[in-house]
């Protein structure tokens, strides 16, 4: 048992999936040629002014309602002043003292099935900065402001997480939620969903938090886990060797697997926040909030609870199946075809299907294997046409050539043998061929039961119905 306790809080930046930017009519497509989606407002040209995108407000309210937060009817944009080449105006518009979403919470389920509630301190609207490009420009940095002014929802958690695993579970939960709400595409490679992790350690039982380091710009779940684990170890080593943790900003280097200090961001860190005089307070009335509430989809937790109770799934499985709206919809499409087999369907969706998709790096929504096809396979297991084991072979064929389960079963002659007399005949042959083993079994070596099952399966090409085989074999061995 470690003497140290880890304390983690996350600041998640979710790019809002709007058509246009937060303060201008520029497009927000990813990957456009440099500066082709930066208009005069995004470039901070002299004289231009911001006007707030309505959709951004609606999306923030959606998120707030989904985490059970208070929606502020009065929120204010401030200016965060600092100089950086990717920040055209020399300040970032960001809600500071009065954010739009206040005090919500999310429940996470850990792998061992236990649950935990993580507080969401606040979520506020702000604008993204541009990008600095260093490659191919000796001694220079190129600035692309296409991303400048893209709307962000910054979701700030309480320091409630106690391990990297909890942090990842929370981040995944937020990731699931924003995609359910269709307010963020969740694309982490493109930077649409990323986070800063505030990490500190303290002696177990201590009341005061330790000094925290902020690890910036983590854009994959794996990096979050590794960066936190590295940072925790670094801080513990430092403290145990008599050192002190510095409050600072750090950067995770995925190649080296370590965090390092970002001193450039530290110097003269005085942001001089003040309310932006070019933007007025955002005032929302209850009618607007209720209107947004009415448009909320079934949320992941609600869906998971319904899956657990309606389909008899474990909380963990229900959580996995509801991790995305698309996966949950796929699962329900399968179950609709085989309503008596929700558990079997769940196993196949989370097992073979997930593995196959993962291997090819595909999303379920890509339509690689339509739900009706998978349901066809589940149905054949259910009606005992094939065994679970044979079904894996059938699945492989279905996956590789797009055929239906019935086509594969027919073509390969994989239909399960359920005729008792036929199975009995094979058993008799096997027993006759193996008199020695039979004698050993009858003299008390029970373990040989498996040997006979194997021999019968081998002789039938795996097609004997396992339950019937067990039944008949036991009778004959004991007889």
């Amino acid at each position: 048992m470690s003497a140290w306790e880890t304390v983690i809080g996350l600041e998640i930046h979710a790019q809002l999936a709007t058509r246009s930017k937060i303060f201008s009519g520029s497009a927000t497509h990813y990957g456009a040629p440099p500066n082709t989606q930066a208009n005069l407002v995004d470039l901070g040209y002299p004289g231009v002014l911001p006007v707030l995108n309505a959709q951004v407000v609606r999306m923030a309210v959606k998120f707030g309602l989904a985490v059970g937060a208070r929606i502020a009817t009065h929120s204010v944009f401030a200016r965060k002043n600092y100089f950086y080449p990717d920040l055209p105006k020399g300040y970032q518009n960001s809600q500071y003292e009065l954010p739009i979403v206040v005090e919500g919470a999310l429940d996470i389920v850990l792998e061992d099935g236990s649950g935990k509630r993580i507080g969401v301190t606040r979520a506020h609207l702000e604008e993204d900065a541009g990008k600095s490009l260093h490659e191919g420009l000796p001694g220079l940095t190129g600035i692309d402001l296409n991303r400048a002014g893209t709307p962000l929802l910054e979701i700030v958690s309480e320091p409630h997480m106690r391990s990297a695993k909890e942090a990842v579970a929370y981040m995944k939960k937020v990731h699931t939620l924003v995609r359910y709400l269709e307010i963020c595409d969740g694309n982490m490679q493109e930077g649409s969903f990323r986070c800063d992790a505030n990490v500190s350690v303290r002696k177990v039982g201590a009341e005061k938090f330790g000094t925290r380091a902020e690890i910036k710009n983590l854009n994959s779940f794996r990096f979050v886990e590794r960066a936190i684990n590295y940072e925790v170890e670094r801080q513990i080593d430092l403290m145990e060797s008599g050192g002190k943790v510095a409050q600072e900003t750090r950067l995770y280097d995925p190649d080296k697997g370590e965090t390092r200090s970002m001193r450039s961001k530290e110097e003269a860190n005085d942001y001089r926040y003040f309310p932006d005089p070019d933007l007025l307070p955002v005032e929302l009335d209850q009618a607007f909030i209720e209107d947004v509430r009415k448009g909320l989809p079934e949320l992941p937790d609600q869906k998971a609870a319904r899956f657990a109770s309606g389909y008899g799934l474990s909380a963990y499985d229900a959580g996995v199946l509801t991790a995305s709206r698309e996966l949950a919809a796929y699962y329900e499409d399968v179950v609709r075809e085989v309503p008596r087999e929700p558990k079997l369907a769940a196993n196949w969706v989370m097992g073979e299907l997930a593995a196959a998709l993962n291997k090819e790096n595909l999303d379920v929504s890509a339509g690689r294997l339509p739900a009706a096809r998978l349901a066809g396979l589940v149905a054949r297991i259910s009606d005992q046409t094939i065994s679970g084991k044979i079904a894996k072979e059938v699945f492989e064929s279905m996956w590789s050539d797009g055929s239906t389960a019935d086509e594969v079963i027919e073509a390969k002659g994989l239909r399960q043998i359920t005729d008792t007399s036929a199975i009995d005949k094979v058993i008799d042959e096997v027993l006759a061929k193996n008199p020695g083993q039979l004698a050993e079994f009858r003299s008390g070596k029970d373990k040989l039961f498996g040997f006979f099952v194997g021999q019968v399966m081998k002789a039938t090409g795996g097609k004997a119905n396992p339950a019937q085989l067990n039944d008949s074999l036991r009778k004959k061995l004991n007889g």
């Binding site: 201008s24 520029s26 500066n35 003269a268």
Partner: protein, 96 residues
Amino acid sequence: MPLTREQIASIAALARLDLSSSEIPIYQNSLSSILEFIGALEAADTANVVPMAHPLPGQSQRLRPDVVTESDHHEQYQANASQVAAGLYLVPKVIE
């Protein structure tokens, strides 16, 4: 209390203004007298007074429909920039 050289230097650094050593005392003097002048505010009784950020009371932020209205004009916009290449604005290397 008059501002020190160091204070002027640190304000100028925060504002990214290059000041020559001969300019510093000039700003020391003038900023000190400005601060003394605005120090008159201290005496005002502002207990329970809400700060006023906008000159027209009761106004709230207007919302714009989420519509793309802009097209690419980067060449025109970059005509005012001193150093560009391949559509990028260039600055001396940024070290993170």
